[in-house]
Assembly symmetry: C2
Homo-oligomer: 364 residues x 2
């Protein structure tokens, strides 16, 4: 089992909501069987229907070795409102998994269940780190130059400069832990790359990030096309813009995929061409595979919280477990705390300074 970075005596690396997702618990258990190969030293606390889970584990020897089952009599359904989940889900697999993180038994939680309920329960039960004003939702996206971290993806539809600065610090710590980058480059999403572009909010945040001692490798402003170009390792934006950008990108990927499918079945030579190019096209498909990017992460809580897509398969669920394990192993929460304390030590952060007249004059 992995030793927690803060030295406490945690029994479990992760608590797993075994009943969340479209094909739970089988799909979750299949995912853990794959994850067990990559994390043989981990110890997972499995929450759900005890009888079903014991039966399922009996057929999955690798997962059985690293999982401890705890009975949860209830399940939070996909259509339950967050408020309902809070009131009625006290004995649910999701809630008990979150409780295990809150009481320090596990370092993180992975669930493929109801997103709204997971986010709300995690925020209320595990609680936001005292140094962070608002948690953010992050994910990994493919780019021309490797994986890119994006946040916030919708946890905060309205953000101020301070929130954006915190997102940058959390994104930096996440990229170190999960992408293994020693000094990830950070870009702030804007409508242009020049210093005077955008609104006050992004300009103020950029000023703090440029001047701060938070130890961030701040690149400056980036634009929408920089996300898939891989201009920076971490793209920071408010939850409204981030959510729209991520879904727009997914939409264009789907459009291209559907159109290519039509192209390759449109004529007999095109079908033959497809068969010849298939192995090469398969590599592209694997690389862009949404399962490789499964796992949306709620950053800024007193524990690791990863949401797997509800419709994913074992490979996708195992990837979400990988992300959570990377964060736990690399002491993600501790890295954020250190960056925030460095930032707090600088006078610039208390009140983000507006764009200085000198800079404005240079730009005009």
């Amino acid at each position: 089992m992995t030793a927690p970075a803060d030295g406490s005596l945690r029994r479990f690396s992760l608590a797993i909501d075994a009943m969340g997702g479209d094909r739970a618990p089988d799909c979750v258990l299949d995912g853990l069987e794959l994850a067990a190969e990559r994390h043989p030293q981990a110890q997972f606390l499995l929450l759900g229907d005890e009888t079903r889970l014991r039966e399922a584990l009996a057929r999955r020897p690798r997962a059985a070795k690293i999982c401890v089952v705890r009975h949860a009599p209830d399940t939070i359904s996909g259509d339950m409102k967050p408020t309902q989940a809070l009131r009625q889900g006290r004995k649910s697999s999701m809630r008990l998994a979150i409780d295990a993180v809150a009481c320090g038994e596990a370092a993180g939680v992975v669930s493929a269940g109801n997103t709204g309920a997971l986010m709300a329960l995690a925020k209320i039960v595990i609680k936001t780190m005292p140094e962070i004003s608002r948690p953010a939702l992050a994910a990994i996206a493919p780019s021309m130059r490797g994986d890119v971290v994006m946040l916030d993806l919708g946890a905060n539809v309205q953000c101020d400069a301070r929130n954006l600065v915190e997102f940058a610090i959390m994104g930096d710590a996440f990229a170190r832990a999960v992408l293994g980058l020693p000094s990830p480059t950070i870009g702030l999403l804007n409508v242009g790359s020049e210093e005077l572009k955008g609104d006050d909010r992004v300009r103020e945040a950029a000023d703090v990030l440029r001047d701060s001692h938070a130890g961030l490798n701040f690149h400056g402003f980036v634009e929408g096309h920089d996300i898939s170009a891989g201009t920076v390792d971490v793209v920071v934006t408010d939850g409204f813009t981030g959510n729209v950008a991520l879904k727009t990108g997914e939409g264009v990927y789907k459009l291209m995929r559907d159109l290519l499918k039509q192209v390759f079945t449109s004529t007999i030579p095109a079908r033959m061409g497809y068969l010849l190019a298939r192995p090469a096209l398969e590599r592209l498909r694997e690389w862009m595979d949404p399962r490789r990017y499964n796992g949306a992460i709620l950053l800024g809580l007193n524990g690791v919280v990863v949401k797997s897509h509800g419709g994913t398969d074992a490979t996708g669920f195992a990837h979400a477990v990988d992300v959570a394990m990377d964060m736990v192993t690399h002491g993600f929460t501790q890295t954020i705390r250190e960056s925030l304390s460095r930032l707090a030590a600088t006078p610039a952060t208390a009140t983000p300074a507006p764009a200085s007249p000198t800079i404005a004059a240079q730009q005009d």
Copy 2:
């Protein structure tokens, strides 16, 4: 020549900034030679270096028939700031083209020159329609179900509910004129499609659009992936989100195109496959061709203003001219005025009502 919809005695359909863009004036003139085939009844006022333009027209017989040359001694360069263009560009081809619209000589202007300068000069010289508080930048994007109009794409980085409602009205008029749709469906971009999603601004705008007598076919909220799915004909959003979404989509398209290029040259069978599928792939490439979507349109001014991409070729410039001609021919400005007056006749618009408690209760 096209008769203007408002019955005034305009001499020219469009004023053309012949010196704007990377390869002006040749590329502009080649574009007009193509456009002349499709609009033989049009009459264009060509602004630029008289000697060069007369020489260029002598080699382009179709364009020569529909163009009148007027000398402009100066040119606005690509790196000139809008303020500089205002002060120093009074005798430039761009400014004189805009002047021709302002004084009623031409119904619209097309330029491939400096974007910032064009937007600033157009707003100050042609002026915003009295019924509109802020002009918006629109463009056409491809989707699974045909062309989609998107606005605002960056003219206004901060917008309120009233701005979004006006964008919807302008987008509706634009889709009627340019896409030829009798009743375009309008979607408001948001982080979810449920009525309670998003911030106050989008919820207030949705309330007005839902209740108003503006005669709009309002679909409700749409998400990022709905743009390329073609869920609606017109996607309305603020300039910050719209700019990021458009560029993110373009970025993913470029990523896919580059990766496919790599795939098709990676192995010998893949190369052979490409050759077989090539005619079908070419059709896809043509359909997604950025030149087909060339022409960003500044809506809400007392005249038609179309910005062609500076680096486009003759085909792209001709497409920008097509868009401007469609707007002129279909009395675009008049359509907006009619919609706005219908909207003004309803009490709901004066103060957009907040989401009613009834709706909130139903949703919870």
